[in-house]
């Protein structure tokens, strides 16, 4: 099949083809960049957190009477929670992982540290902390009960030992084995690294150092006390109301909320999730509209060329030749749109990366988009083309 006659027929009636090509170009630019953004968001949401998210819930309490016996209450609560059938482990914790709220401080690999230090999002947990979070220690050990600081009001006192993620360890000691090393606080107080966590996400999911997590052996205190409870698989939802009902009985305090860790995680990622959903809807609508445009043009062309098609059929063209004609015509139009679309897509990608600090568009997505639009164009043309192929040769003789 020769492209020449198709091209010359196209050039004779350019307007419709140009309109479709422009649509294809814009569609390619929007779709490719949107998909790229969506994939990044999905990857971000799906990153492993290192925490046993599915089986953890939080109990947030607040006491409000003078001389509330927080020390005894914490001891009782922890004993109750850790003894509850179905609970793997429970700990007090100063902030909720993945929730967007937390504390951070700087750690130094030498005393009197000047300059940056390594920022660490720290969590204060008891000796059950590792088990409660469900995180994996790749080397070293957890905290012993003896080292856990008892509940205490405000203090600048540092801790004797800490557990850090591998991310933190690498930043503090890029060249040597970090286990057993001493790190220093801003006030040059020393602490020994006794354990290395494989991987754990901290509080701020949007932070580029979300994996910079440090555990301190401290019992969270005193006014607002939160417990992080990890259950056996399947027991979480059953235990939540039971725990709430029990803790609510203590006088002088309220249970602010009992929520799954997933609740906080979902909330933290809601912007990313919504962006992905919104863009997906836009993509679907856009492709539908572009296909409609292609379909409309092909239908229009078939209608206005009925007589010519009949003539071609009468002088020996097969039905598949007719189908092929329209498919090739569409391919030419789509391709010209794609050429413009590639330039546009790269321009949009550049704009996004310059102004919105998104990574530069990955070219694989462009290649995928090109093939995708070729397919969409061919599919949208197929129906009108087959209708064209059913034009009987006799049409050629009917009028004139």
């Amino acid at each position: 099949m020769s492209i020449r006659p198709i091209l010359s027929a196209l050039l004779r009636n350019k307007t419709g083809a140009i309109l479709v090509a422009v649509q294809i170009a814009l569609t390619l630019a929007v779709v490719v960049n949107s998909i790229y953004i969506i994939v990044q968001r999905i990857e971000k949401i799906g990153r492993p957190t290192g925490i046993d998210e599915a089986n953890i819930f939080m109990v947030n309490t607040q006491n409000y009477t003078r001389d509330f016996p927080y020390e005894a209450t914490i001891r009782e609560d922890l004993a109750y929670l850790n003894g509850l059938p179905g609970v793997v482990a429970a700990t007090t914790i100063n902030a909720i992982p993945l929730s967007g709220g937390g504390s951070s401080t700087a750690y130094f690999n030498a005393p009197g540290g000047k300059g940056e230090g390594v920022p660490g999002n720290y969590f204060e947990v008891t000796e059950r902390g590792i088990d409660a979070l469900g995180i994996h220690l790749s080397s070293g050990r957890g905290f012993s009960a003896a080292v856990i600081r008892p509940p205490m009001q405000r203090t600048s006192e540092f801790v004797p030992e800490i557990i850090v993620t591998r991310d933190v360890a690498k930043q503090l000691f890029p060249d040597t084995e970090p286990l057993g090393k001493t790190v220093y606080s801003q006030l040059s107080q020393p602490a020994r690294i006794v354990g290395i966590i494989d991987h754990m996400h901290g509080s701020w999911t949007g932070w580029d150092k979300v994996g910079n997590v440090v555990l301190h052996p401290v019992t969270d205190c005193c006014k607002r006390i939160s417990y992080l409870v990890r259950t056996k698989p399947g027991d979480r939802d059953r235990l939540m109301p039971i725990v709430e009902a029990k803790l609510i009985k203590t006088s002088g305090r309220v249970v602010n909320s009992v929520r799954t860790l997933g609740f906080y995680k979902d909330r933290s990622y809601s912007d990313d999730r919504n962006m992905a959903i919104f863009l997906s809807v836009v993509i679907v609508l856009l492709i539908a509209i572009a296909s409609l445009g292609i379909f409309g043009l092909a239908t229009f062309n078939v209608q206005s060329r009925t007589k010519q098609i009949g003539t071609r059929r009468a002088i020996g063209a097969r039905r598949r030749d007719i189908v092929q004609y329209f498919l090739v015509e569409n391919w030419l139009i789509t391709t010209s749109g794609i050429v413009g679309g590639c330039v546009l897509a790269l321009a949009v990608g550049y704009w996004l990366s310059m102004h919105f600090e998104l990574p530069r568009l990955d070219l694989y997505y462009l290649v995928g988009g090109v093939f995708g639009l070729w397919l969409v164009g061919q599919l949208a043309t197929l129906l009108p083309a087959r209708r064209a192929s059913r034009v009987p040769p006799a049409v050629a003789t009917r009028t004139v």
Partner: protein, 442 residues
């Protein structure tokens, strides 16, 4: 003439309802996508107290680390909050008409009713000027006076919701509520007040609900209250007591000032610089002098309330609308040309090219408006869907997804422009056809 053109347009719509529907549908979808993204953008960039944009300023002092700025990406910006001791010092200035020093805390509310559960409440610890500076509406009573801020007096302002839940909505001024373990006398009950975004404190998101309980600022120190918002510290210093904390370089107090004139604003700026210079002499504020007063618009930009995602969405939505418009051009061309013989006839009977052009432009404008209206309905549906998606996350989302008259007129204007943009070429084209071509075969 217009009515005749409208009549012709109606006849044309009836002749080819499918194509007509497609044109209106394409415009509607484009408008809907644009309107939804613009509504979100508009709501977030909304200044809820625009009438005070020249009077109300967030006050900042660069008290940060000499080694690095508070915000690495924007080193020119001072930290958004003040230290406690600076807030106290600024409260002494008599240049502003209103001075607001505040932070967010939580208190446990006990209304003293046996059947009502004690409950944790978000509480704002603030100077009484809060209500005056931010024009907070009162249902009963009013703000506490300056004396109550000083001593501090056990007075409280409660929200309308709390008043309804604990007192059944009656005028509860003069009654007491228990906050933690202390009685507070109610001096005011707020009316509904939901500024969105919550410009006055953007530490914990921009769509939070305003607090339910308000108590005088001095209670912060008296009760050793900590911030439930955001506390940031840079300096290595011993903090072993609340006293150490209030003396530290940690920033956690939001500070606003309202001025009655531009001159006062300038006077306060130089007063602030003078204060910072004095403190520098005492060895504080190691960074270069960088004290800023931000009006609400600038403050919303400073805190990046409109996110990058919002901007990207608006950009992509307009590209989407462009596709819809181009698509509509094609559809209109097909529609007009399929009825070209009628135009040919009109031309042969004496209608000018302009008449034909006008006839089709009217047809397109009406279609564009119909598409716009349909688009408005679609956007309302889309926003309703968004509200459902977000409802559990933020109570304030309703205000975000609310289409105000500005947005509605913008949507209609947009659809009109889109209709005209799509229709100009097809209408021009149909005006240029040779009548003879279409009369020959009859």
């Amino acid at each position: 003439m217009l009515s005749y053109n409208l009549h012709l347009a109606c006849a044309s719509y009836r002749r080819n309802p499918t194509l007509t529907g497609l044109v209106a549908g394409a415009i509607a979808i484009g408008i809907a996508v644009c309107t939804i993204t613009l509504t979100l953008y508009h709501a977030l960039s909304n200044n809820p107290i625009w009438w005070k944009n020249d009077q109300l300023y967030a006050v900042t002092i660069d008290s940060w680390d000499p080694e690095r700025p508070d915000n690495d990406k924007h080193p020119e910006r001072p930290p958004p909050q003040l230290t406690y001791k600076d807030a106290l010092a600024l409260l002494k200035s008599d240049i502003p008409v209103h001075k607001v020093a505040m932070f967010k805390s939580t208190r446990v509310l006990d209304a003293g009713k046996a059947d009502a559960k004690v409950k944790r409440m978000d509480t704002r610890v603030t100077t009484g000027d809060f209500f005056r500076a931010f024009d907070v509406p009162f249902l009963y009573g009013g703000p506490w006076n300056a004396a109550a801020d000083q001593s501090p007096e056990p007075v409280v302002v409660i929200s309308k919701e709390v008043n309804e839940k604990t007192f059944g909505g009656i005028n509860s001024v003069g009654r007491t509520v228990r906050l933690d373990d202390r009685d507070f006398r109610i001096v005011g009950v707020l009316d509904t007040w939901r500024p969105a975004p919550t410009y006055y404190d953007l530490n914990n998101g921009s769509l939070e609900n305003p607090e339910d309980i308000y108590i005088p600022f001095a209670w912060g120190e008296a009760l050793e209250l900590e911030s439930a918002g955001n506390t940031n510290c840079w300096k290595s210093e011993q903090i072993n007591s609340f006293k150490d904390f209030t003396n530290s370089e940690c920033v956690w107090i939001q500070f606003w000032a309202e001025f009655s004139s531009k001159a006062d604003h300038n006077r306060f700026q130089s007063w602030l610089d003078g204060y910072a210079k004095d403190q520098k002499k005492l060895g504080r504020f190691p960074r270069p002098l960088n004290n800023h007063l931000y009006n609400v618009d600038e403050w919303l930009a400073f805190n990046e309330v409109v996110t990058k995602d919002n901007r990207v969405l608006v950009g992509l939505a307009f590209m989407f609308l462009a596709v819809c418009v181009v698509n509509t051009v094609g559809l209109l061309l097909a529609k007009f040309l399929s009825a070209a013989s009628l135009s040919g006839l009109r031309r042969a009977l004496g209608a000018s090219r302009r008449d034909i052009f006008q006839q089709h432009l009217v047809e397109v404008i009406v279609l564009g408006l119909a598409g716009g209206l349909l688009g408005l309905i679609l956007s309302a549906l889309g926003l309703w869907g968004l509200r459902l998606m977000f409802a559990s996350d933020f109570d304030q989302y309703a205000s975000l997804t609310h289409m105000d008259p500005t947005m509605m007129s913008a949507a209609i204007l947009l659809s009109l422009l889109a209709g005209i943009a799509a229709g100009l070429y097809p209408a021009w084209r149909i005006g240029r056809i040779q009548p003879a071509t279409y009369l020959k075969t009859q």
